[in-house]
Every structure is written in C-alpha cells, then in structure tokens.
C-alpha cells in the first residue's frame, strides 16, 4: 500500500500509476466461495461455452474489486470511498492454464470536488478488451 495522498496534493488531470492484477481459475473458485456467487459461468467451462461464452469468465465483481484496490492502494489508508460505479463492457475470459488472465487498471483525477472529495475516472483492460467502462470512484481524502 502506498503513502497517504492528501486532497491538497491532488491535481486535476493527473494520472494514477497503472497496475496489473492476475486472475486465474483458482481466483474465481475462491471468489465464488467468498462472495456466494456460484453462477456456473464462473467455474464450468462446458456450460460457459454451451451458453455462448468463449470460456469461463471472471465475476464482474472480481474485476470491480481490482479497480477498487487500485483506488485504495493509490489513496492510502485514510481514504473514504464515497461512491464507486462501473459498467461491465466486456468479460474477462479466464483460460484453464497456469497463467490465466491479467486485469490492467489505470486512472486519472477527473475533478476535485468540495468536501475534500476527488472524482477518479478508471479504465480496466484485459488483453485487447476494455472490460470496464464508465468506471468512476469518488473518494474523500484527508
């Protein structure tokens, strides 16, 4: 985790350092158990393909969690996340190998708001696909 970012340090338009997060079939099994979302498309390749998906896909919420981690890692421990929203534009396809997939998250400071709040615009990609769009977090900084 990084040092604490303060509101006064933040400049509109500034880029946040990008980060990459791995996702494997094991990640999805663990996420099924931890979240309670056992939708078969997240662990059963046979059914995932039968319903027209290219392979098993990650939970959208797993991808969103990586974007959340990106924000809290950048902001530091005293951040309060006020609002966090995403659109899942494309699935993160997770092959059954030892490598899995990678989720790459980047972001910029969209604007500084009152009450020490900062709006961040986020993007997440996996391979060629943009997996999150309209991803935005509003955080309150010290």
């Amino acid at each position: 985790m990084s040092e604490q970012v303060s509101y006064d340090d933040v400049k509109p338009g500034a880029e946040l350092p990008p980060a990459s997060y791995p996702v494997t079939r094991l990640s999805l099994v663990k996420y099924c158990g931890a979240s309670g979302d056992f939708n078969v498309i997240h662990w059963n390749e046979r059914i995932a393909r039968a319903v027209g998906l290219p392979n098993v896909i990650a939970h959208g919420m797993f991808t969103m969690a990586q974007a959340g981690r990106f924000v809290t890692d950048w902001a530091g421990p005293a951040v309060a996340v006020v609002e966090f929203g995403v659109r899942f534009s494309s699935p993160v396809v997770v092959p059954d190998d030892d490598i899995g997939a990678t989720i790459e998250v980047s972001g910029t400071v969209e604007e500084k708001l009152d009450g020490n709040r900062v709006a961040l615009a986020l993007t997440a990609r996996s391979g060629e696909a943009k997996v999150l769009t309209r991803a935005r977090a509003v955080v309150r900084l010290p």
């Binding site: 059914i47 969103m64 005293a78 609002e83 995403v86």
Partner: protein, 149 residues
C-alpha cells in the same frame, strides 16, 4: 420465458440480518487478492480511525446479493440465471462496512428494460444496520443475454 415486467417497483422483504465478521472480511480480501491491512489487522484499522477492521468497498455486494436473491430467484420474475451476466454496479457509501456490523438489505426492482436482444434488470438495495444506520446503497443491473421480449 419472458421477464415479468409487473415486477418493476416491487420491494422484497429485508433478508435476515447479516453479521459482518472479521473472518469473512479476511476471506473476501484474500479472494480478491488484496493484501490491505485495514481488512485484516484491527490495529491498522484503528490507526486509520475505525473501531475494527473494515471491508473492501465491493464487499457490500455479498450483502446486497443476499438481499436481492429473493427478487432474482423469484420464479415469477422469470430470469434465466445461466444466461445472466453483470451489466452495471454502483455503490454509494455513508461509511465502510466493518466487522461487528449487523446489517439488513432491502431490495427493490427499479427497472426492467430491453436493450437489443438482451433484457436488463436493475435493482436498488439499501443496506442498513439493525439499529437503523444507513451504510450503503447498491445499484445493480443484471443482463439476461437473449432474454428480450
């Protein structure tokens, strides 16, 4: 089977109270691969001004899903879950969920609409402590692929 539009605006009874535990938060943080000490170490959480370990922002989905499950799984709604993918998700937080919170989730189906060949079902779930403190509002949109009427 087509989705039943009569369900728009329907509110489902709050799920049984959910007790947020340090163990569950740690399990969730492990599952998303986030090593943040605020999710595991009470001392670190207290240093940041919290009474106990806090949950990652997206942990609220665990509770909101439990709240919206009666709606999503209602056979009368007619959602084919194998064809469902998550379309959109947004949270508004009054504060983070934290260990020791006992919360309920009350879901309302806010919208059902076609988008091309798909149908989108949106829910709004209010998460509050049993003491009446509002903690989080979760807005979810599920997409049933090929489910348009």
């Amino acid at each position: 089977m087509a989705i039943n539009r009569d369900y728009i605006g329907r509110t489902f009874p709050a799920a049984a109270p959910y007790e947020v535990s340090r163990v569950k938060i740690g399990e969730f943080a492990d599952a998303i691969g986030d090593p943040n000490p605020l999710y595991r170490d009470r001392t670190a959480a207290q240093a940041a001004g919290y009474a106990d370990v806090i949950a990652p922002p997206t942990f609220a989905i665990v509770i909101s899903m439990a709240g919206s499950a009666p709606a999503i799984a209602d056979p009368g709604l007619g959602l084919n879950y194998a064809m469902v993918v998550h379309g959109e998700q947004r949270f508004e937080y009054d504060r983070p969920l934290m260990a020791g919170d006992v919360v309920t989730a009350q879901a309302t189906i806010s919208d059902i609409r076609d988008a091309g060949r798909n149908v989108m079902v949106s829910t709004k779930t209010e998460i509050s402590t049993v003491g009446g403190e509002h903690v989080c509002t979760a807005h979810s949109t599920l997409v049933e692929r090929g489910g348009a009427a």
